[in-house]
Symmetry: C2
Subunit: 332 residues, 2 copies
């Protein structure tokens, strides 16, 4: 059996976020569904970029953000995801490595550009994402480094990858390797529209392989096709051994083998940009699990990490999370 | 005589800033002079980027920042500066146009990359810049659009351009065109090291062509080779008809034909990142002059714009400055 070298390895889209502000009318005019992620092609992203206001570029990607959060808490994290041999690819690689996350997927030259997401932040702090997948669609089984997976205590999978057929195969391969090595598998549902597109396959994966499920309220009710959160939660509790369900201002609900824990949110003065809230909740929770701190502390670390990231633009922490967690008495 | 179409046209380096945080020891280790701009080559910027922490990419450039500030106050602004036909060039062009600044310098393909500056922000909010000029060094007389200059009430020149020999020629050409069209010429000294490299030429230009001079305390004492601010200020008052000298927390001093005005700073809770403070002071001041608001209001607009930009990462305003100025009673 391999030695454990990483607390968590994540597999996801390697994305650079292009973040700007807009009002609700702009979203409506450009057909961008508020609060959701939609996939767009090259032409659409160009039109939208031309129309939007000034922006900032910050490395993102859902699973990648989670791993940066885990590293910021003091965990050992690794990332698998594909970038092109271009400026955005170099930005992505620099930022994730500079955040102390191991990243060894080689860049691909001459095929497609590095993935980017135009993220439009409305005055209420809600973010709406328009993602051009670029080279990310090229991830297949070949990039799933079996040695890295076998040496990681938890394999974390980003639901967005389900939007790409070959990535599904990569997903299943990663689950197979993890399971055969006795590792745990975690999955984030990522987006309710994404769930809607791939419901049956998500349920199949959750029942057969997922040990830890992350979803927000709209994702879990979409998954189980109900309007009632409690019904959806009961389904999740039946289908997986551990589920962490986030409910925005209502905090999170953790369901584990008959236990139910309610974790409050960490209060913030003003939500500047909600991008990364779910990703950072997962970071805190997974770090807490890895460190053996128990479900309640893991949930509180999730709330704390999410609170930090929504107080500024961008989906990665500005302040070292281990400092915040110590100040809050959650880590010693 | 041409019609006035722009309140201010600026000529400067078109730069994308790569902003990250570091401590003072990191600056010392990498030989970066704290609080200053140094020019670095391709190899040095690569080494530094590899060593620094996670970063964000935000359009910058001293004169470009000033023009964005003028547009944000409601002024009509145009920019002349050179980008390459690459991702950073497209980011720069998008952001300045999205900020309503006219920008028509065509991108250059296949020569050198778009200029970038690694900006390291220390815990005290001070910024230290490491600039790779790339394609900016290619600006010469050919890009100085005479029609744009003749149709602008003020031509604003960034002192950093003096670090490039051919740009000096472009500078002089711009001054000649502006003067012959009866326009005013403004100059920012940019950096005390830059002043030290080109002292005689700066003094010559200030005496013969500059109507409005911007400098901070270290720049003006470097220019006149004195340790005494008052001596330097007296020299500035002798050499130019209007000088606005900024003194960080001590506010600014405006000298104009025997008059001396002291303008206090606008208080801020915490300096997050001082990048752009001087650029935005110039924006407020030039907008005030253009709008005929008088020197005192112009200075206060400078203080207000500078205060906004130091409360967040990046050298361009996050909040529309005309709103802040109205709330403050400086604009109606």
């Amino acid at each position: 059996m391999s030695e454990i070298r990483h607390d968590v390895v994540g597999i996801g889209n390697a994305i650079v976020d292009i973040l700007g502000r807009c009002d609700d009318a702009f979203l409506a005019e450009h057909g961008a569904p508020k609060g959701h992620m939609r996939l767009v092609d090259d032409a659409t992203i160009s039109t939208l970029y031309g129309a939007m206001g000034p922006a900032v570029e910050i490395s993102g990607g859902s699973a990648a953000n989670t791993l940066v959060g885990i590293a910021s808490l003091g965990g050992r994290a690794a990332f698998i995801g594909k970038v092109a041999d271009d400026e955005f690819g170099r930005i992505f690689a620099h930022d994730i490595e500079a955040a102390a996350v191991a990243f060894s997927t080689p860049p691909v030259a001459g095929k497609a550009p590095t993935s980017r997401s135009l993220i439009l932040v409305t005055p209420d702090g809600e973010r709406t994402m328009n993602t051009f997948l670029g080279i990310s669609t090229d991830l297949d089984g070949g990039e799933i480094d079996a040695a890295v997976i076998r040496s990681s205590a938890i394999v974390y999978l980003e639901g967005y990858l389900f939007d790409r057929d070959d990535a599904k195969a990569a997903f299943r391969e990663a689950v197979r390797i993890a399971k055969s090595a006795g590792r745990r598998v975690a999955l984030s549902l990522s987006d309710s529209f994404c769930v809607d597109r791939h419901r049956a396959e998500f349920i199949d994966l959750i029942r057969n392989g997922v040990d830890i499920l992350f979803a927000n309220e709209s994702e879990i009710i979409s998954l189980y096709e109900t309007a009632d959160f409690e019904i959806a939660a009961a389904n999740a509790a039946r289908d997986t051994s551990l589920a962490a369900l986030t409910r925005s201002a209502k905090g999170s609900v953790i369901l584990s083998e008959g236990r139910r824990l309610e974790i409050p949110v960490e209060a913030v003065e003003k939500v500047v940009d909600s991008t990364g809230a779910g990703d950072l909740y997962a970071a805190g929770f997974l770090y807490g699990l890895s460190a053996g701190l128990g479900l309640e502390t893991a949930g509180k670390l999730g709330s704390l990490a999410a609170a930090e990231v929504i107080t500024h633009m961008g989906a990665r922490p500005n302040t070292p999370l281990h400092q915040l967690a110590r100040a809050r008495g959650l880590l010693s």
